[in-house]
Symmetry: C2
Subunit: 176 residues, 2 copies
């Protein structure tokens, strides 16, 4: 469970409610990490139970009360331990490649369509990533790192598009 650490990391930057966390995850780290809303709340609870985060209720009058969460000292220590620990590579699962691998069961035009649909999807993803503004000449480590994670997504999207184009050409070559 690395969602624990992702949340701990976000809380180390700024105290947040579960609701806000979910939004931040979707918006600012969404290109490399996703989380279910219910999981965010449950993880926050275990974090508080384990003493890695603290919870403070903020009374609001015109909307439901907030549970504002902060990383505790132990939480920050745990975060640093995680940052220094060896990286466990996650299981690779690429549904599109899995499909493409068996796609010769389909007629040629259907294979082409598979590839083309994928091309459109990746093109949209790329456009979405490129639309996110990044500071041009970052001087702080945090800025550099955060724009680098974004650049990673862009680099892979472009690589995927190039590969798709090349695959498409190869497919056209065998079915003239």
């Amino acid at each position: 469970m690395s969602l624990r650490h992702a949340i701990l990391g976000l809380l180390s930057i700024q105290p947040m409610s579960g609701y806000e966390l979910k939004k931040v995850i979707d918006e600012s780290v969404g290109h490399f990490w996703t989380a279910d809303q219910s999981q965010v709340y449950r993880t926050l609870s275990t974090l508080v139970d384990d003493g890695l985060a603290s919870r403070r209720t903020v009374v609001q009058e015109d909307r439901p009360n907030l549970h504002l969460h902060s990383a505790t000292d132990r939480g920050l220590a745990e975060l640093d331990t995680w940052l220094a620990s060896p990286l466990q590579t996650p299981p690779i699962r690429e549904p599109f490649l899995a499909r493409l691998f068996f796609a010769d069961r389909l007629p040629a035009d259907r294979i082409q369509k598979l590839v083309d649909t994928r091309r459109q999807e990746v093109a949209e993803q790329l456009a979405a990533l490129e639309a996110i503004a990044v500071p041009a000449n970052a001087t702080e480590a945090g800025q550099v790192l955060r724009s680098a994670t974004l650049a990673n997504g862009i680099a892979h999207a472009r690589a995927e598009l190039d590969w798709l184009a090349s695959t498409q050409r190869q497919l056209e070559r065998i079915t003239p």
Copy 2:
């Protein structure tokens, strides 16, 4: 659960035992799909229960008996349905990027080390992928598709290496 379909796909090419399937998954589709051994056996059982695969026991004298599995007609139909169904994009989870995002908590040399360790790992992965031989001028759709999935892994590994180099340069720029 797409392991069902991955297994169904492999069985459509050739009847196999669970043991053999696990090996084939590790070796031939390992660069885009991984599976736990216990999960392979359990999935085979549900596949048989659902009538999508059939099981035949092959008695062997000097080793444990084989359970040879084949895709049934219904299994092949299910496979084709899956191939034609809209692709559900899996949740994105990139532990390395998650770490890098919060790595400004670490001293500069530790960040560099993080990036460098990653560079070595990806370089090894790339070498492993490049070592797999592929037919140069594929004429069959199946060959083209299968070498394309391999090419995909290579393309992404190279993109990752380029990005890592660029990130490293940026980090050096801010900590002279």
